[in-house]
């Protein structure tokens, strides 16, 4: 038995208000205004099990699979999610400097160039079996490399010791 409320994606229309705020209208006419989406699996499955919460963070319901939404709704909720979850994808690592076990990275990401510090090189760089690399910087910001094998050769060489 489910105690959580799952709503069929086919039964709703999602509009984007401002920022990450959504307005969701159900087929039966019920309207959820000013609600926000949260991923329950932000790392392993970004499009499934999306929690809808109100402004006070109270759970309203769950959308199991975004892919079953109509195109427009999918686009709207994805935009909101992309704003909430800032996980820059690293395209290239230009330089790595090491200082007493902590690292400074200069990178090129899908959101522009950036530099950050990694404090614990062992725990803050995680290689998943798919070749995906999850990174957390000294300020707890997250980054990812979708597949390190697809990075330019020099970048691969630079990080190979930390994978």
């Amino acid at each position: 038995m489910n105690t959580r409320k799952y709503i069929d994606p086919a039964d709703m229309r999602i509009e984007l208000k401002t920022g990450i705020s959504l307005r969701i209208t159900l087929r039966d006419g019920q309207v959820y205004d000013d609600v926000e989406p949260r991923r329950m699996f932000p790392i392993s499955n970004a499009d499934m099990f999306i929690l809808i919460v109100d402004k006070e963070d109270n759970e309203l319901f769950i959308i199991k699979d975004l892919k079953q939404l109509d195109k427009e709704s999918y686009k709207n909720i994805s935009t909101a999610l992309d704003r909430y979850y800032l996980i820059p994808k690293i395209r290239e690592i230009k330089r790595i400097e090491e200082k007493f076990g902590s690292l400074k990275w200069w990178v090129k990401t899908d959101r522009g160039d950036y530099e950050f510090d990694i404090q614990h090189r062992h725990s803050d760089i995680k290689l998943l079996s798919s070749g995906r690399v999850l990174i957390r910087d000294a300020n707890d910001n997250r980054y990812e490399i979708p597949n390190y094998r697809k990075l330019p050769r020099k970048s691969q060489y630079l990080i190979s010791g930390d994978l």
């Binding site: 401002t18 920022g19 990450i20 932000p42 109270n58 759970e59 992309d82 704003r83 909430y84 979850y85 800032l86 996980i87 820059p88 200082k99 007493f100 076990g101 902590s102 990401t109 959101r111 522009g112 160039d113 950036y114 950050f116 404090q119 614990h120 062992h122 725990s123 803050d124 910087d137 300020n139 707890d140 910001n141 997250r142 060489y157 190979s160 010791g161 930390d162 994978l163």
Partner: protein, 760 residues
């Protein structure tokens, strides 16, 4: 004029020119910029230059994605400003009559500054003194600026230089430091080694004699002499070699023991923050494996390198004396080998890092699952545990295979080159022997070949050295990482107030373990000496965190915590903690006897005292009934006792310490009502006359507390006595109701927040 203003402006980092221009252009006449935060993230989520500035009357936000590039707003129009934390980023939301406006988007790197800015705006608007508020902002900014003057690393507090710089020597110097006390022994064994090495140089020469003179001339007496001489040399080598190996082994073990002790001692001083991020498994593998690794290297570098250099010089001298042309020929492959080993070491290094990481993952699994073996069995997941382990093992194996390809290929190539060198000498030397025997005799050729092979011994050694070196370097890095990590800051070292009366004050304390989530938000309360404070709140609301801060387990909080009016950060850390008795939420007992587990808090306590403490904690009665009574040996982490029994032992431990301040983080394990009564009694006896903080899940425990605070989501939402809070009919009242509903069998913990809000 503008430069002067700029010099005074508070910023987290220098603003880019174009931003600065925009910012100053939007100022009105006479309007002064107070502080500005450079945010590095634009509204559309891309990196770029954006800035948030505050003047006395307005906020000015510069972001190229705004239609005009600038957004200004009168502070007086803002009803509320707050930072909305998202994932790896946050926005500053200001609420006006027209709705909510997002003024800036930023990463977690500057979230705390925006938090401070939001506070500033709200406080100024609620009528607080703007100058005082600005002072708080200034503090925030300067705190951020605390960097080590030498390396620029951020300091957690006002240390003169960071620890790493204070004690940063070069790798070689540091390794040498561990070797230094053993130099006489090492020199002794070096002398022995030189002797054996010198001895190895003789046999080929004797071979030459044998071939060219003795055998050729049928000199039987000479033959006997040379054979005996060779026998003597071999015996000498074996004997001296054994002594040498023994000496080295002992020395190595001593060095590694010292190093291991030092790493372990250092690991004790590391702050909890370090352990939040680093798995104990990886710390364990450093203390165990890496120190060993380094030992091997130290021995190698301190002995073999010197020996090999000597051997090389010795052989070269003999070879050149025998025949310089052949000698030059045999040196031909050397440059290739030298160049090759440089390339090789560059490529092998990442492998050792990767190998290390995989090995430490395996240690982590061990450190994790073996102590948790009960859970593994309870959920019949033995097979899964094995599979997981095998997968990590396989990963390590694969990496090892990849590394092995390189590490085996390289020496093979070197050997091949050496052989080729030998062939050239055979070929050319043989040619010379056949054509002009007077220039080169068979004996010289044969012994020359022997020397050539011996000569390549050191070459191969140096070729392989970079491999060992890289491996050792990785281990050394890991070890020094611990030795260099900043220990808990203890600025008040040495300051020990005569007595601690126990007045505790939290002043606007905010704290987060990680930037993404604020765990305590502006917590303030006071406990007078001798009073008891109860803390109530749903699970995860921040109760234990309050205690963690009071214990100084984490010191990167905002606001102040005072004991008897003194900032706790200014008191000697060990002294301070020794004044507090803390019963942890998860009773942590050690693999030792019950007696020593209780006496842990006061090792020099008399037996009577320990028994008395057990009596007060209501533990004596069950202990005396155990066959081994106080000598009962507990398993790892206290295995062998029930939850309630463990709790009472940890209470006894705190009682024995007789502290001025007592903290009790009540375990949530449900116990039967009789045990509950026993524990209750123990607690009541224990808190007599002491300042005490009780985090209780059984609210009945708290009825007698002098004051109760209710924590919700990191904020104090209610405070007062039991009666006051009951008549308030707020959250506390509802907690009590739920608990009496569930007949006292369930604790607050078992009612999760959501269900709770569904009930009401």
């Amino acid at each position: 004029m503008r430069n002067e203003v700029e010099a005074k402006l508070l910023v987290n980092k220098p603003l880019p020119e174009d931003i600065k221009k925009k910012l100053y252009e939007s100022l009105r006449d006479g309007e002064e910029l107070l502080f500005a935060i450079s945010a590095e993230l634009l509204m559309d989520g891309s990196y770029g230059n954006s800035t948030f500035g505050v003047t006395r009357s307005r906020i000015i936000s510069v972001d190229p994605t705004f239609p005009s590039g600038v957004l200004t707003l009168d502070i007086s129009r803002i009803k509320n400003a707050k930072v909305k934390r998202m994932y790896s980023n946050a926005v500053l939301c200001v609420e006006t009559d027209e709705g909510v406006i997002e003024t800036n988007r930023f990463t977690y790197s500057v979230t705390e500054l925006f938090d401070a800015a939001a506070n500033y705006i709200n406080n100024v608007n609620s009528g607080m003194d703007p100058e005082e508020q600005l002072e708080l902002i200034r503090e925030r900014f300067t705190k951020r600026k605390l960097t080590c003057p030498k390396c620029g690393r951020r300091l957690s507090r006002r240390n003169p230089v960071c620890l790493k710089c204070a004690d940063k020597k070069r790798f070689a110097t540091r390794v040498f430091g561990y070797v230094k006390p053993y130099i006489p022994v090492l020199i002794f064994s070096l002398v022995l080694s030189s002797a054996t090495t010198a001895a190895t140089l003789i046999p080929p020469y004797l071979t030459k004699e044998l071939v060219d003179n003795v055998i050729k001339n049928g000199d039987i007496a000479g033959l006997r002499k040379i054979v005996l001489l060779l026998l003597g040399i071999y015996a000498f080598q074996a004997g001296i070699g054994a002594v040498r190996n023994f000496t080295l082994r002992i020395t190595g073990e001593k060095i590694v023991t010292n190093l291991r002790n030092e790493v372990y001692a250092k690991a004790q001083t590391l702050p909890l923050k370090y352990y939040d991020k680093t798995s104990t498994g990886s710390v364990m593998s450093r203390i165990n494996g890496d120190t060993q690794n380094l030992q091997n290297f130290i021995i190698r570098i301190s002995q073999d390198v010197i020996i090999q250099v000597f051997t090389m010089i010795g052989i070269m001298a003999i070879m050149f004396a025998m025949n310089w042309k052949l000698s030059i020929l045999s040196l031909l492959p050397v440059p290739i080998v030298v160049y090759g080993s440089r390339v090789f070491s560059k490529h092998i290094r990442p492998f050792y890092r990767r190998l290390w990481k995989r090995r430490s993952r395996i240690s982590s699994i061990l450190a994790d699952t073996l102590p948790g073996i009960r859970v593994v069995k309870a959920f019949t997941s033995e097979d899964r545990a094995v599979q997981h382990f095998e997968k990590c093992g396989e990963d390590l194996l694969n990496e090892n295979i990849r590394a092995a390809k390189i590490t085996s290929a390289f020496p093979a190539v070197v050997s091949f080159l050496v052989m080729c060198g030998g062939l050239v000498i055979w070929g050319l030397g043989g040619y010379w022997v056949i054509n002009s025997p007077d220039r080169l005799t068979v004996g010289v050729l044969v012994s020359f070949i022997s020397y050539t092979h011996m000569f390549y011994g050191p070459i191969q050694f140096f070729a392989g050295l970079s491999d060992t070196f890289q491996n050792a370097l990785t281990s050394a890095e890991r070890i020094f990482e611990i030795l260099d990590a900043e220990p808990e800051t203890d600025l008040g070292k040495g300051y020990k107030p005569e007595s601690i009366k126990g007045r505790i004050e939290f002043r606007n304390v905010s704290f987060s373990y990680e930037s993404g989530k604020k765990v305590l938000d502006n917590v303030s309360f006071v406990i007078e000496p001798g009073q008891s404070l109860g803390i109530v709140g749903a699970t995860g609301s921040g109760k234990s965190t309050i205690v963690n801060l009071l214990m100084r387990f984490y010191d990167n909080y905002e606001g102040e915590i005072l004991i008897d009016g003194i900032d706790i950060k200014d008191i000697d850390l060990k002294y301070y903690r020794s004044q507090i008795g803390y019963v942890l939420q998860e009773p942590m007992l050690f693999n030792d006897t019950i007696y020593r587990n209780i006496a842990y808090s006061k090792p020099d306590a008399s037996v009577e005292e320990v028994i008395e403490a057990a009596v007060v904690a209501n533990a004596h009665n069950f202990i005396k009934r155990l066959p081994d009574a106080y000598d009962t040996f507990l398993g790892e982490r206290g295995v062998g006792l029930s939850g309630g029994e463990k709790q009472r032992i940890s209470i006894a431990r705190a009682v024995l310490k007789d502290p001025a301040i007592l903290i009790l983080d009540e375990a949530t394990a449900s116990v039967d009502s009789e045990t509950e009564n026993l524990i209750q009694q123990a607690i009541e006896r224990m808190i007599q006359g002491r300042t005490s903080i009780m985090i209780a899940h059984r609210l009945s425990t708290l009825k007698k507390a002098d004051k109760i605070i209710v924590v919700d989501d990191g904020k104090i939402i209610e405070s007062g006595t039991h009666e006051e809070l009951m008549s308030l009919e707020g959250k506390y009242y509802r907690f009590v109701q739920i608990q009496s509903l569930s007949d006292g069998m369930f604790t607050v913990r078992s009612v999760d927040k959501d269900e709770y809000s569904e009930i009401y």
